[in-house]
């Protein structure tokens, strides 16, 4: 991480990359990670917290191994009126932001993910899925549970 900061013209420019890296290590961005990152970037913890809480993909609370971002954009909405979100929560026995009992999944709503040509859609650790049906969701969850899946985004 220090190397990354060193090559940047301005250290602050690396704030998001560093938060992603810390998140990759801890699984989310805990207080101690935030303090560490702020020190590396020569920012006050408050300055970094201001960024961390601004963005959708920085998690300040623990999340499951797979974070399911369900698109709540209007195009996806026209096909399911929030049913994808409800279906996933029911299936996994969680509310928004909680971790499923097996520690694998967290469901979060997110802004339009740009997969409208495959609506309704969701994003799981960097991979886009759609058009979703209950059957397809069951298959995806099963696959994530049982097979090794390459994580595109370090969560």
């Amino acid at each position: 991480m220090q190397a990354e900061i060193a090559v940047a013209e301005h250290p602050r420019e690396q704030a998001i990359n560093i938060m992603y890296a810390v998140q990759g290590h801890y699984g989310y961005l805990p207080d101690e990670g935030l303090l560490e990152a702020a020190e590396l970037l020569d920012l006050t913890p408050l300055e970094l917290e201001e960024l961390a809480t601004f963005y959708d993909f920085i998690y300040r609370r623990p999340v499951g191994k797979y974070v399911i971002h369900v698109c709540d954009g209007v195009v996806c909405w026209m096909f399911h009126e929030n049913s994808v979100f409800e279906y996933l929560c029911q299936k996994l026995g969680v509310c928004a932001g909680e971790i499923s009992a097996d520690g694998l999944f967290t469901v979060l709503p997110t802004a339009c993910i740009g997969f409208c040509d495959h609506a309704p859609a969701m994003l799981v650790n960097g991979r886009l899925y759609g058009p979703l049906t209950p059957l397809l969701i069951d298959e995806i969850l099963e696959k994530l549970k049982t097979e090794y899946c390459d994580l595109v985004v370090c969560k």
Partner: protein
């Protein structure tokens, strides 16, 4: 038959490689530019071509580049924008995945035209796979000598860095994007002129990726050729139209700019889904007003849409059918905008939730007639906000009030959403036990 320009290297399963791009004439424009053209000549050509920004505002690209004062200092920056968080828009994702080097060459040329040293390719987290693709291809371009110091033996040096965002709608706005790259909270900065006082107070030009992808073609084939691609007199070039919603073949289609809406929906997008009739479209993402079916033959270009009181925006055409409740759709949009508002100024922070709550009550059957003037008034108040976010958000509300007032009144008089029956098939799919 119209020949695709930006999508000409489209392959069914993978992006075009550097070699494939070069075989189609790729990087010739850059080679010619650094050897034979001055930066001012490049800018003049782009100005003459009539290219307008594809990110939503439609500002003439050459003029934007010209805003950098002649005596402005160095370093200078260009920021290719692939934040693309406007709901309904996915053209840059498709474009980057078809021909990454077309976008990269466009970026380098824009850097040459404004004498910039570094480009920050701003990309949203949902497109992480694309960010990785761009990083790989940037390295390939560097190996081939198109990036780095003294490109192709010229005086011109240019670096391209991929800057990952962590996801917030407002980052798509140019001045907010500059703040985001600097590691600040991404508030817009209305009073800052990016051309002289952008990234780290240096001259900075922010352009959409699709805009930049037009540049190599303009340089190779000329400004007149580019103008001739358009179907309208005032337009220039082709346009990537993203069609989504209740059509048979949703997708991103490249067509001459100014192609009528009817042809886009019935031609490329394969017509409406079985059982669906066109009720309204949003012509350019969620920040443009609903356009009812009577505008089916309007030419999809900046000026013709403006003439009928609408905006081309990002040309993300979202198609609503007769079974979709537009009060509920607008409520969905307001939930989105109220959540994405950065909270910096009061009209946006307080006004959008106010509109959302009124719509929520109407949709839930608790609406009253006096809510209508309240919605009108608050939607107009959005114009007093600091940046263009809230006025954009208000567009859908104003469109709803202008064209679908009867639908709002039906909700109020029936004390429920009149579309509840029409939704049943959806609920059956997700909750078969009900």
């Amino acid at each position: 038959m119209f020949e695709e320009v930006l999508f000409k290297n489209r392959r069914p399963d993978r992006p075009a490689t550097l070699d494939e791009y070069r075989q189609s004439g790729g990087y010739e424009a850059l080679i010619e530019a650094v050897k034979q053209r001055t930066p001012d000549e490049v800018r003049q050509l782009v100005t003459d071509s009539g290219l307008r920004g594809r990110g939503g505002a439609g500002f003439p690209t050459g003029r934007k580049w010209g805003f950098i004062p002649a005596d402005a200092g160095f370093p200078r920056y260009v920021v290719p924008n692939t934040d693309e968080m406007e709901p309904g828009t996915f053209k840059d994702r498709v474009l980057v995945n078809i021909d990454p080097h077309l976008v990269i060459e466009g970026i380098i040329l824009s850097g040459y035209a404004v004498r910039a040293q570094t480009g920050f390719f701003f990309i949203r987290p949902s497109y992480e796979l694309d960010a990785q693709l761009i990083e790989r291809e940037v390295e390939v371009a560097r190996q081939a000598g198109f990036l780095g110091n003294n490109i192709l033996g010229s005086e011109f040096s240019f670096e391209l860095v991929v800057h990952r965002s962590a996801g917030r709608y407002i980052c798509g706005e140019a001045t907010a994007q500059v703040n985001a790259i600097q590691g600040n909270r991404a508030h817009p900065m209305k009073d800052r002129h990016m051309a002289s006082d952008g990234l780290w107070h240096r001259p900075t030009i922010v352009n959409n990726a699709e805009t930049l992808a037009c540049v190599p073609h303009i340089l190779r084939q000329g400004a007149e050729w580019f103008k001739g691609l358009a179907r309208t007199k005032t337009g220039a070039g082709t346009k990537l139209y993203c069609v989504s919603g209740k059509v048979n073949q949703p997708g991103c289609y490249e067509l001459p700019i100014g192609t009528p809406l009817r042809e886009i929906i019935e031609g490329s997008a394969g017509g409406m889904m079985p059982g669906s009739e066109l009720k309204a479209v949003m012509p350019g993402g969620a920040s443009t007003a609903y356009m009812p079916a009577k505008y089916y033959d309007v030419e999809m270009d900046f000026d013709p849409l403006k003439a009928v009181g609408h905006r081309l925006g990002t040309a993300a055409i979202m198609v609503f059918d007769q079974n979709t409740c537009l009060v509920a759709a607008t409520l969905n949009l307001m939930e989105y905008f109220a959540r994405e508002s950065c909270g910096y100024c009061t009209p946006c922070r307080e006004g959008l939730p106010y509109i959302r709550d009124l719509l929520w009550r109407i949709e839930a059957g608790e609406g009253r007639e006096e809510f209508i003037p309240m919605l009108q008034q608050m939607a107009r108040h959005m114009d007093s906000s600091y940046c263009a976010f809230a006025p954009g958000a208000a567009e859908s509300v104003l469109g709803l009030l202008k064209y679908f007032l009867d639908e709002i009144r039906e909700h109020i008089s029936q004390k429920k959403c009149p579309f509840a029956e029409a939704y049943r098939p959806h609920r059956k799919l997700w909750y078969p036990a009900e």
